[in-house]
Structure formats: C-alpha cells, structure tokens
C-alpha cells in the first residue's frame, strides 16, 4: 500500500513535469465552422497555412497561444514543429508574401474570446478552459 502511494506520487509528479499532453488540449472553432471534427492532418495543414478550408468547405484561420505547456504540447503533437521552427516558418511566409502572421494570444481566455467572435477561427486551449461560446472540434 505504501508502495502504491509512492508510485502514485511519482507518476503524478512526472505528469506535471512532463507538461501538457494531447489529452489536455481542446481544439475550438468559431460557430461558422460547419465541421464537428477534424483530422490531425487537416489540423496540421490549418496551422501550417497550407489549408484554408476544412472538408465541409468552411474557411478557417489559425489562432495560437504565445507560450506555455498547452502551446508546446499542441505544436509537438499536432503541428510537428518546435516553437522557434514554427516562428521561422511563419516568417518565411510573411517575408515572401505567401501568408500572414497568425493571431497569437497570451492566455486561453483571450484565445477563446477571439475564436468566439471571429469567423473561421480555429484555436486550442487547455482542456479545463471554459469554451461555452465556441465549438469544440474532435480531433480524429
């Protein structure tokens, strides 16, 4: 029993140190987005600006967090680029005219507020964040 408690403490500590996981992330979209789910390939395309519409034809634009565990986990699990690599990637689009710098916000609440009011916006926040005004997309 003592060993089980010890194991639980260690596991919890490792989870905290390890930061957010995909399961701790909620992908949200503006109500104008018709789809209720999105594939991980589509999600990556949206955040790499190679995809500006989803399978249902809805126009989409990415919205990012500026930093934090949820941001890092999202980039690692769904975009496949580090923070610095993604910044470089966006700048290469911006300075060749092939794209715009996406909106980025400091807090989950700011992301939710922007997604709620912006047509086609797709963002991500911590799973525990209240997102009543935005649609939650299932990632397949």
């Amino acid at each position: 029993m003592k060993n089980a408690k010890y194991l639980l403490v260690v596991t919890t500590a490792l989870a905290v140190i390890g930061g957010a996981q995909a399961a701790d992330i909620k992908v949200i979209a503006n109500s104008s987005v018709g789809a209720s789910s999105v594939s991980s390939d589509e999600l990556r395309g949206v955040f790499l600006a190679t995809k500006s519409s989803l399978s249902d034809g809805s126009h989409v634009e990415p919205v990012l967090l500026k930093s934090g565990a949820v941001h890092e986990a999202f980039l690692k699990d769904y975009v496949g680029k580090s923070e610095s690599a993604l910044e470089t990637y966006y700048r290469s689009l911006v300075f060749t005219g092939r794209g715009s710098m996406p909106k980025a916000f400091a807090t989950d609440a700011d992301v939710v507020a922007y997604v709620e009011k912006t047509k086609g916006a797709v963002g991500y926040v911590g799973a525990a964040t209240a997102t009543s005004g935005a649609k939650v997309l299932e990632v397949k």
Partner: protein
Amino acid sequence: MNRMIKFVGLLATVAAFAPLLHAQFDFRIDGRDVQIHSFAQQGYALSNDNNFLSMDTTHGSFGMTDGGVNASVAITDKFRVGAQVYARNIGQLGDYHVQLDWGYGDYKFKDWFGIRGGKIKTALGLYNDVQDMEFLQTWALLPQGVYPLDLRSSTIAHTGGDIYGEISLHRAGSLGYTGYAGVRENDPYGGTYYGDAAAGDPEQSFSGKAAGGDARWHTPVEGLMIGASFADQTGIIKVLYGAYGGALLTAHSAPEHLTAGYADYIHGKWHLSSEFRRDYNIEPYAFLGTGGITNQSTKGWFGTVAYRAAKWLEVGTYNSRFYVDVPQNPTNPNSNHIFDQTVTARFDITSWWNLKVEGHFMNGYGDTFSAHGFYTADNPAGLKPDTNMFVVRTAFYR
C-alpha cells in the same frame, strides 16, 4: 581599435532603431487586417588573404547592410495582395537602391490550386525565395556555393504568374507544388554588372525569361521534406568589350537550365539540410561579325547540421562546394572550385533580434565568369588559394 569603435557604434545605432522595427504598425481597413512587417540586417566581415563579396574584408568591412518592409492584406478569404520593398549595400553591390522585392495578387481557389500574378519570389531549391532573410537561418551567410550573395538577382524573382497548391497524399504526406513563367530580374546593382564593369567590359543591358517548377514532398516521416526544382531561363546580355575599344558583344543563353534536388530534416533539436544545384549554361555570343560558344556551366551542393542547444543558442556547421565545369584557365587548380567549411553560433537575444558569429574556411576562388564572391578587381595583387573569414551579423525583424 578604430574598427572596434565603428562596430560598437554601428551596433548601438542599429539597437536604437530596433524598438521602431519591433513596434506594431498593423492596422485595419474596412474590417480587414493590414499587416506590416520589416527587417534590417547589419554585418561585419574580416578575412585574411582575399577580399570577398566586393567588400574590403581584408581590412574588415561593415559594408553588409540590407533591409525590407512589406504590407499585405487579405481582401477576401481567397484573395490577398501584398508588396515588399528591399534595399541592400553589400560592398560595391546594391548601393542602397530601393527595389520592389515582390508585389502581387494571390487568389486561392482551393488548397490544391491557387494563382499569383505580379512580381513573385521564385521557388527554386530550399532557400532561393528567402535567401535575403538570413535571420530565418542558422547562418550569417547561406552556403555560397548554391546561394551566392552577389548573384542573388539571377534567380531571385520573376514578373509573371504562378500556379501553386498543396495536395494531400493522405498517409503518404502531402505534396506542395509551384509552376511559374515570367520575365527575369534585371539588376544593374548586382554582381553580374559589377564583375563585367570591373573587368573593363561594362554591361549595357540584360533581359531574359524564366519558366519552371518546384515540387516538395512532406513525407510521412516526421520532419522530413524532400524536393526538386527545375528552371528554364534565357538571358540576352549586351557588353561593351573593353579590349576592343568598347565593341559590342552580344551573348545569349541557349537556354540555361537550373536543376535542384534537396532535403530538409528536423528532429527535436537537430536540423539537417542538403541541396544539389546544377546550372547548365551554354552561351553563344556574337562579336565583330564573328561568333562562338562559351560553356559557363557550374554545379554546387551543401550539407548543413544545426543543433538548438538552448532557446537563445543554436550552433551549426556546413560544407559548401562549388565547381566550374570549364574554367578559362584550366591549368590554375584554384579557379575550378570554391570549397567552404563554416562554423556558426546563433544567439537569439529576443524573439525579434539575433546575432550570429561565423567562421569560414575557404579554398579556391572560382572562375572569372562565375564570380561567386571573388572578383579580380577587388584583389589587384592576385587571388590567393585560401581564404579564412570571420563574420558577425545581427538582424532585427518583426
């Protein structure tokens, strides 16, 4: 000491303007966001034996300044317009002449098909379209065997049209493609004009067309991209031949074919890339009622390895190789190649300001027609076989 004072003074000046560059100038028109972005770069180069890139590098040169500003707006969800102006002063090149770097309209019908029209950066190899923006790279200077700073305008952009798109290959990844056709850049402030003028044969005009394509496969292997490019270029050059009292020499490529194969791999903190470039250029000429053919073909490749040691530090090395097919003096073993082994440390001071410290260890200097940084006019005592060069470059961007 004098050099050090200049260097510190220049850094202080650039740093003073940095907040201005970093300031937010974006605004809205009719509910649409207009984004403004800019960058400025300043370098210092010091070499031992040879002057490089038309700078007085043997005495230390700050003549490595460039920058650009762009504005873009999405008019609708599918249609966007934008433009960027760019100016540079690299040694004797550029002379701060402000030029339209790119400016075009872009209509994206579907993710797999869009069109662009205007002046457009040319998709060729890994870095052709972003070669001016060294702040995007680990390096202070991109591998000069493939991306020569002095000859950037020979491939940098075309005025015409593109088709482009990204096609999903499902489990096999995705394929990005670009096809284009247009008129080539004519840059009287670039290395081709400078080299000819310095040799006593001033160039009178240049015109040409370009068409080609680029395909890049984002493979199912996380972080691995493989690509290939092809360009078919023509060039009509008129030169006043100094040795014959300024008689007109007309040359035209018939045609010039550029082929590139490349790969880029990012895994965790590691970033590896490689590119091979072939420039097949058989150039017929007409002169004083006679004619002939010169072979100005070259090839080059590089391999790079970079490691992100910390959020503020990236270190790396590359090996760049450039070969001249038929040097004008075949008995000179140093004129048929330029090899460059480079080591770099990049310091990301903030998210919008970096500083790079780089060492180049070069062998060979290439041929007169190929230039690639080494000009006989800048080295009147003769070119030496080896060149070691120290480069510091800082950049601000937002």
